[in-house]
């Protein structure tokens, strides 16, 4: 049995040297925003193609031309690098770069303050780096699109924000993030830095209630980090910051609905396919499948299902809450207010008191259309923390 016959591309040098070269060129040039002719010239500049091969080369080049992504990028494999460069420059009043893929508040370490380090894959802005600044996080590590950062940038951020009061890591519950942040935590502890971690798991539909430890972290982090950041801003101890962050996580639930897929630039194709006439309830922010697909229908009935799932998982009746109607990146703000309208009606009917609310793109999935609704059930401590803290981060402000 041969690899080539099993769906696996397997062009060794010996079998087909020419194919190999073309493959190499395609992999490098296929996404560059150059014209078809230019792509072809790039190939022809390097190797003289035998006549009987030129048609093949032309068809490869055509394919390359057709697969150029209509996105505001150059080479997809350079996107994160170039994004970080622009991000740091655009936010230089608030942050400084402390490594190739790591940032910290410009004035860090702040004496006596617990440093909060966040991070995860790129493709979710404002999450996660957008929340570095006063009142939320102190440092962040950038991963590749939809992929956890390695331990190294997490360690760099940790060293930059450590004032001696300790550092808290907080991020969504994904295996890659857990492995890499844990590794950073081990290394930093070896260096004598106090590090604790709170992993967030607010996505109700990603696992049943009795397996809540398997649930993903999604939009709810925006609410949880409000509480965490406020506590740290008061110069509370590491144990206190960890405790209130864990409490906020325990009281937060999120359910989302996705309307479209999204394109990871280096992949070049939609992550999955969702028919034009369907929506997926419970869809993850990397395109992980949700619990069910429904035909497109007026959004109120979808929001009713979303709110049913949230309210069935945690008793919010009669409680004070902080609420986020989150956009996944590709839905207009107008639509999010239509969603908020329905969420508000349901909260009113259930005597849920919305003390703080935000409507907008916070935890996104590239250009995915859709929304998620997050509720944080407040006690007086969390209520006062949010109320009394000014937030001034790179991508979110609250007076």
């Amino acid at each position: 049995m041969g690899f080539a016959h099993e769906g696996i591309a397997d062009h060794g040098y010996t079998e087909c040297f020419l194919c190999h070269l073309v493959f190499e060129y395609l992999s490098v040039y296929r996404f560059l925003p150059v014209t078809l002719g230019a792509s072809l010239r790039l190939i022809q500049d390097r190797i003289t193609l035998p006549t009987n091969r030129s048609d093949d080369a032309a068809s490869f080049a055509r394919e390359a031309g057709e697969s150029l992504l209509k996105k505001l990028i150059n080479d997809p494999f350079d996107m994160v690098e170039e994004m970080v460069e622009g991000y740091v420059a655009a936010n230089d009043q608030i942050i400084k770069r402390v490594g190739k893929r790591s940032i910290a508040r410009a004035n860090s370490p702040i004496p006596g303050k617990v440093g909060i380090v966040v991070g995860g894959g790129s493709g979710h802005l404002p999450a996660f780096a957008g929340y570095v600044g006063k009142g939320m996080a102190d440092g962040a590590a950038f991963g590749n699109v939809f992929a956890s950062p390695p331990a190294k940038p997490v360690i760099e951020a940790t060293l930059a924000v450590n004032s001696g009061a300790g550092v808290m890591y907080t991020y969504g519950n994904y295996q890659g993030d857990c492995i890499n942040f844990d590794k950073a935590q081990d290394k930093c502890r070896e260096m004598g830095i106090k590090v604790q971690t709170v992993v967030l798991n607010d996505d109700v539909l990603s696992a049943p209630k009795d397996q809540a430890h398997k649930r993903r972290g999604i939009g709810g982090l925006f609410l949880v980090w409000h509480v965490a950041g406020a506590k740290a801003e008061q110069l509370a101890s590491l144990d206190e910051v960890v405790a209130v962050t864990a409490k906020a996580n325990t009281n937060t639930r999120t359910v989302g609905v996705g309307l479209t897929s999204c394109i990871v630039p280096a992949n070049g194709k939609p992550t999955f396919s969702l028919p034009d006439n369907e929506m997926e309830i419970g869809l993850g922010i990397h395109g992980e499948p949700g619990i069910k697909r429904v035909k497109v229908r007026p959004i109120d009935s979808v929001i009713d299902e979303i709110m049913d799932a949230i309210l069935a998982d945690l008793d919010y009746k009669g409680s004070d809450v902080a609420l986020l109607v989150n956009g996944l990146g590709g839905s207009p703000a107008e639509e999010l207010y239509v969603v908020y309208r329905r969420v508000k009606q349901i909260c009113d009917a259930n005597k849920i008191n919305i003390k703080f609310k935000h409507v907008g793109n916070q935890v996104t999935a590239l250009e995915m259309q859709g929304t998620s609704v997050s509720l944080l059930r407040l006690d007086s401590e969390m209520h006062d923390l949010i109320k009394n803290t000014t937030v001034d981060t790179c991508m979110y402000k609250k007076v």
Binding site: I8, N144, P150, A151, Q175, G176, S206, N267, T271
Partner: protein, 214 residues
Amino acid sequence: MANVTGALVAKSLVLVAKKVEQNKDYLCELDGEVGDGDHGVSMTIGMRAVSRAAKALPSNCTPSEAFQSAADAYADEVGATIGPLYEAAFAAAAEVVKGKQNLNEISDWANVYRAMADAIQKLGKAQLGDKTLLDAFYPAVDHIQALASKGGNLEAALLSTAERALKAAKDTRNLVPQKGRASRLGDRAKGYQDAGATSLAVVLKGFADGVKKG
């Protein structure tokens, strides 16, 4: 019969990277069925870093140094779930061949593959049958260890080991995932071939071809 020096290990790593990148879209497709569709991208980003590091090695490097450069490349540049796993695997390979100037025996490669698989198991804590890359790797390890005890031609042994891994990767279709993003799907993920197991087979094929090419 190739003399498998450190330089040849480095050249093989470059070839592994090429093969992984050739299969980027296919691996993304497999991953997209049950995960987030980026496995081919993560592997390509990782192996590009490995390839750059391998090309920068001196021609008199040892096999251990070649594997260690791959581990370091993963540690610095990759992340995701696969990054730490391959980093640990390459670091374990570097450790197990320390002091050796060449890897000419089947048993050398059996040791390398066993160390890599064990390191991945230790870090990822997956068990056989969890539908991970280990479900391709351990059958391949068993295969090459059996060959090592019989003796024979190294090139043929590496090739048949890669083929054993590919067959095992295809057999992951019948498994229900217990790890990673796909695990949340439970039975819905049955019938799909594991992307990580498939890329592992591609990696082993890269080593086989690299050694054969000499």
